[in-house]
């Protein structure tokens, strides 16, 4: 198990006092695949570098199991790492690249080469062993980097945006393969990525970082369905969640979300404490949780269609309220069969209970998550 306790990393020099990582706590179980996800500058790579030992934390403790590793050199941590640039040694052949970590452990050449060959077979690059890195394609270089990281049977595998230099289709294959290998070897793996789809698809748990802090650390579906705050809600999902400014009000016994363009009555089982009334909130609904409905439906909200985008598998419809008072357009996804043209008047409703309320007086915390 890996434990990070109150990790702080402040860089000195010009940006002195600027904390790249600011009080980060994280626990990773043995054999788990964890993704660190966040926008650039959120501290995810810094965290990975501290796990590798290439950076020393300013404060806090890192444990591998029971062992405090704060001051353990990278070479003594038994980690494998794949870099974004792959960082292959250009003067060595693929075989020597993969055997390099083994040779550094004083393993005899014969045995190191045999193990390099074994590892290369897992990654299906055993036919490339005699080539130099410059003679390989991007995908092959990536595999060599993986093989080099895995050849020493590391306790922990660290992946620093390993797929960002591959083209979209290759990415999907490599992603599946990394996951498969990770499961078969059972190696604890931490991946840093800014690609949410990648993070959600590949990992057991995802830690979403922003401003050097973990916003939410949970399984992918949980992050998606129960975002803890506004940042997580708006960061995850494509197309992104609709977020409408509003206010909670008590209208003759009914609790209602009042926005500039429409009102939404909270269902019976989502009734809130009275103290929430009058609070400024953001009303969040994912585009696929909005459906086009009949005019007579009691929850129907009339909307004017502004724009229709074809996504192939469906349509992305952007609507606004009939008076045009809403500041942001609302996005919803429909299937291809529905005939919708810009300028049409349609009626939409929120799928049962599929909405989020974020308390703007409390840093955008999700109201339902906390209560």
């Amino acid at each position: 198990m890996i434990t990070l306790k109150n990790i702080v990393k402040a860089y000195d020099g010009k940006q002195a006092g600027n904390k790249a990582v600011d009080g980060l706590n994280l626990e990773i179980n043995k054999g788990e695949f964890v993704a660190l996800l966040g926008p650039s500058g959120c501290g995810k790579t810094t965290t990975l570098m501290m796990l590798a030992g290439l950076l020393k934390p300013t404060a806090g403790e890192i444990y591998f199991g029971e062992r405090l590793v704060n001051h353990v050199e990278p070479k003594d941590r038994n980690i494998g790492m794949v870099f974004q640039s792959y960082a292959l040694y250009p003067h060595l052949t693929v075989r020597d690249n993969i055997a390099f970590p083994l040779r550094e452990r004083k393993i005899p050449k014969q045995e190191a080469y045999a193990r390099a060959k074994e590892t290369s077979k897992i990654l299906q690059i055993d036919h490339l062993l005699d080539r130099k890195p410059s003679q390989l394609s991007g995908g092959q270089q990536q595999r060599v980097a993986m093989a080099r990281a895995l050849s020493k049977n590391p306790e922990i595998l660290l992946l620093d945006e390993p797929m960002s230099n591959l083209d979209a289709r290759l990415k999907l294959d490599v992603r599946d393969e990394i996951r498969k290998i990770q499961l078969s070897l059972g190696v604890t793996t931490i991946i840093v990525t800014h690609d949410q789809e990648e993070a959600l698809a590949i990992s057991d748990r995802v830690a979403i970082l922003n401003g050097g802090k973990i916003q939410q650390y949970a399984a992918p579906h949980e992050l998606f369905n129960y975002p803890i705050n506004l940042f997580v809600a708006s960061f995850l999902g494509s197309p992104p969640m609709n977020l409408v400014d509003g206010k909670l009000e008590d209208k003759s016994g009914d609790q209602v979300v009042v926005t500039d363009g429409f009102e939404y009555k909270l269902p019976e089982d989502k009734i809130l404490d009275r103290t929430y009334m009058g609070k400024t909130i953001k009303f969040g609904i994912r585009p696929h949780d909005l459906v086009v409905c009949d005019k007579n439906d009691n929850q129907a909200i009339p909307m004017k269609v502004d724009l229709v985008e074809h996504l192939g598998s469906g349509k992305l419809v952007k609507v606004t309220d009939t008076q045009g008072k809403l500041e942001t357009m609302i996005r919803l996804l429909t299937d291809n069969e529905k005939e919708i043209q810009p300028g049409d008047l349609i009626y939409i409703k929120v799928k049962a209970n599929k909405f989020h309320l974020f308390d703007m007086t409390n840093n955008g915390q999700s109201i339902y998550y906390t209560c």
Binding site: Y86, A87, N165
Partner: protein, 276 residues
Amino acid sequence: MSTSTLKKALVHTYMTLFTLPIAAMIVWYFLAATMNFTTGQFSLDNFSFFQEPVQYSGVKLPMIWPIVLNTMMYSILIVIIEACISVPTAYAFSRLDFKGRRSAMKFLFLMRSFPGITLIIATFFILVQMNLVNTYLGVLLVAVTGSLPGRVYIMKGFFDEVPWDIEWAAMVDGCTRFGAFKKVLVPYVLPGIGAIAVFSFLGAYGEWFLFKLLIFNDDMLTLAGYLSKLVTKENQIVNYGLITAIGLFYTLPIVVFYIFTQKIFMKVNLGGAKQV
């Protein structure tokens, strides 16, 4: 004639006109060495310096072969010393964070552009005080000191090009910082080391001023100094045939050396890491 051929012809004429003087000089150089101008016949008389010490109208110089040995020893020693000092120094300037790095870097740049010749009188007196005049050590010290800033500066550029990822990868793979330097970074910047080695060699091979100034024994000279001794102020007679013959002997290794080493200058990045 079409316009394109006309253009080509013009360009070629133009280039030929400008190349001609240079070509003429080289041709004359070979002729002067291998022709007896009084008889107009081909002769190898000028190359007798291979067999016997040079001696004509007051100029008396030792046999050339020990001088050749001196030259080779001196040049190779300079290459080794300069490479061994400049490579780690450049690494430190490029990668390590130490106190005074920026000011030292500025000083290095200043020293690189500073005309060292203006310091030569002071240098001479210092060497006299240290009893290093007329010793190879003295020449080596002055020569290395003079050229080191430039070498370090070039080498630093090569180290700056090495992605951090490569060094980090080596450290994760079990190297110490020094191990990463030795096993990964030095091979990575090998073309750069080759380049400074060539510069050092050419510089040392052509060094005559320091020998003229600091070495008083003719048998301690190197080829460049030897060549310069052929022309002296005292006698007004200059033996052009002999000078060009020895000059040819002196230049030939450099030309050959250049043909074999020019590839190093062309091949700078070997690839292997994508530049992000």
